[in-house]
Symmetry: C2
């Protein structure tokens, strides 16, 4: 099986209007999510370091929430921003984060060439399909060896989306995949450092570069996946399964974006059921936090294993189930703002943290919880069988919009936030996507 050539054929020859409507809708959702989380991340001071190393002559491309830049720099920074808060999307079967590496390459290519909204959304869907399937072909061996799959596999998706939008031939797309694949990088030792988000930026920029170079005659390896010294052999030496990739030759495929989830809270998923439960009770019964005397939870064992810190700085709040429950009660949310140093040290939040108690229940699944909130005059219970954002309970469009609005409006204001949101929903009817993309700039 000539796996790589088949992938290139899928990238180039899948008609835009053959991508199913519900997959295009998933592409729109992931773009709204990326714009939101990258806008929120654009306030992080580390972005300035990335801006400093770049060139400032050519302002061809939008950097989300920041001033314009050249294509390569825009892809690098947008990939970094999209992944910085670990608040982006997740392909459940592989824990690949497809949007952070792929959207920046697609957006940059669209800004270079111009294309319709439909073509842009289809290019992302196709890039994500390629990346998810390459990820599935090496999962779990590749991740277990220590690779950060978003950094490594993301570049294939970025090259795929950019190749399609730049109008490459199958032959050129083979080279683009080859050049992206041979620059796949990022290991898990970088988790907990700026390096992790930079992996996504590298994948985006490297995939875009691969497509641009290939469009100008550069050659790359012709069998980047299946070659003797190629991706499967070198980056997944203990195993791979080519069938996930080879299925792209089938007339009809099950699109993987259907298995791509969005996160409602900017912390690890293990406490998401607890946060869901507290927010549900808070909203249903209009609970005033000052009336609460205890929050009792029965939780999966991982909650106490991974999230039992007593937080002193903001980041530690992400590893405290008590803090997550407290901000859920007071703010009804858990965006990056809920994990600031100030919020962790807020007197009211700190007092409520002390009212939160969890007991382990081995019978619960990882995305399940039972919660009781008590006051002098009330006693409210709920059971969350599947947390929001889990495969069985995806975020609704309305939940996604609330998340997006909360985090985007702090950076670009309410009016631009709404304009950008409408523009993404309207993309399928848009003749030129450039205006929409530019709305995400500062």
């Amino acid at each position: 099986m000539k796996s790589t050539v088949n992938v290139a054929d899928f990238i180039v020859n899948t008609p835009t209007d053959s991508v199913p409507e519900h997959i295009i809708h998933q592409a729109q959702r992931s773009l709204i999510n990326v714009f939101g989380v990258a806008l929120s991340a654009s306030l992080d001071p580390s972005v300035e370091a990335l801006e400093k190393i770049g060139s400032h002559g050519n302002q061809e491309a939008t950097v989300i929430g920041r001033s314009r830049s050249d294509l390569n720099q825009a892809a690098l920074i947008n990939g970094y921003l999209a992944h910085l808060q670990d608040y982006d999307d997740t392909h459940f079967p592989t824990i690949l984060h497809p949007s952070a590496p792929i959207w920046p390459a697609a957006l940059a290519a669209a800004e270079r060439r111009g294309c319709s909204g439909s073509d842009l959304l289809a290019a992302f869907a196709i890039g994500a399909e390629v990346a998810c399937r390459v990820a599935m072909s090496v999962h779990p061996w590749h991740y277990d060896l220590g690779w950060h799959i978003t950094g490594t596999v993301g570049g294939f998706g970025a090259a795929a989306a950019a190749s399609r939008l730049l109008g490459l031939t199958v032959e050129q797309t083979v080279s683009a995949l080859g050049l992206a694949g041979t620059h796949a990088a990022g290991f898990r030792e970088a988790f907990g450092t700026n390096g992790k988000a930079l992996h996504a930026g590298h994948a985006a920029a490297s995939g875009l570069r691969a497509a641009l170079l290939s469009a100008n005659g550069f050659t790359g390896p012709r069998a980047v996946l299946e070659g003797t010294r190629g991706f499967w052999s070198v980056l997944s030496p203990t195993g791979h399964d080519s069938s996930f990739v080879d299925q792209l030759s089938d007339t009809k495929i099950d699109w993987e974006l259907a298995n791509n989830g969005l996160k409602p809270y900017a912390n690890g998923v293990v406490s998401h059921p607890l946060q869901d439960a507290v927010i549900e009770l808070r909203n249903s019964y209009e609970i005033d936090p000052v009336d609460v005397t205890s929050i009792e939870a029965r939780v999966h064992p991982l909650v106490l294993e991974l999230m039992n810190l007593s937080p002193v700085v903001g980041l530690e709040g992400k590893f405290s189930y008590r803090h997550c429950a407290a901000v859920a009660l007071v703010d009804g949310a858990a965006h990056e703002a809920q994990f600031s140093d100030a919020r962790v040290n807020d007197d009211q939040i700190s007092a409520i943290r002390d009212l939160v108690h969890a007991t382990v229940d081995d019978q619960l699944s990882e995305d399940e919880v039972h919660v009781t909130i008590r006051g002098a005059n009330f006693d409210y219970n709920t059971h969350i069988p599947h947390a929001t954002g889990s495969p069985q309970n995806p975020m609704s469009d309305s939940q996604l919009e609330s998340k997006y609005r909360a985090i985007a409006s702090e950076v670009i204001g309410t009016s631009q936030t709404e304009l950008l949101l409408s523009a993404v929903w309207d993309l399928p009817e848009e003749q030129n996507a450039q205006q929409t993309i530019a709305l995400a700039g500062e």
Copy 2:
């Protein structure tokens, strides 16, 4: 052993004047060689593809033989150019090519910050030492798995040289090594494509970026080599030997640049003894090619295995021992010019190729040959025990200068070629290296 911290300590705290004089001399030789081969490569049309994707606002840095660019783009293109003809240096114990990834990062950092010639040469020597020792720590497991060691390990050397020149602390240098290491990339499936030289460009640019980001507060993994999911574990899972790296903590080390060789001919090393022999006889006896009736060689078996093509296009000439012998006789050389389509199809060269015959001698070593050149009135023999450029018979400074002059002058003319050569030899006395570097531009 905290390997990574020790490496950073070596990078930051080795005094410039403690680098031995013969190692500084090797650094100068490798720079002359890089300028020559990159200038020659700067005529290759593929460079334009790289230039097109870049930004053109900031012209802070020299691109060898081309117009100026920003730092990142300069490092990328210079790394690509230095490796494009496979005519750069080779660290014999590991087949790492140290100069292509490291010199571009060092040059760019020197252009950003300004530094003395001594500091620049010492930074390269220290970067090369780090890269060679990381390479030794994973050789042969890493290469055998399919990694292109110049692409992967090169980034450590680039980050090391740039960190030193940018004045980073030990702590910052740890992060720079971490950010470079986690972006290590390039597998051997890309050999024979533009991707191979791009690996060196990526390593240069990524190492430089790592140092620049770290200088501005970016964090990277703290144990990039020895960490559980770090370089040794992920990119060399079948084995590594940390002792080569840990020796950097010793008071006195044997510097690895002493084991770094330069190539006299722009083709694979197996036919170099044959080329040496023909050139020696041609020059010693002032042989007129028209008088020659046969060239007979006794060669190592690999020569017939790897170099027995009948060339039709230029590149195939590199895989024809007959062509290599023919241009040795007529041109006394084997630079890129001797492997053009025109030269391969030249009538005189083609006729002489037919006079060349080789027989295998199992008793010979790989860098050995016996050659007889006959004419109607003569019969000249020679034995080359060790080819030029082999560990036992390094290129002399004068041979290096001839190579450099032949390939550089075609691009920047005789006068600039001589100015640049003198400037590199004079670097140890130069207060600011920026002028010297700029001489390598177009």
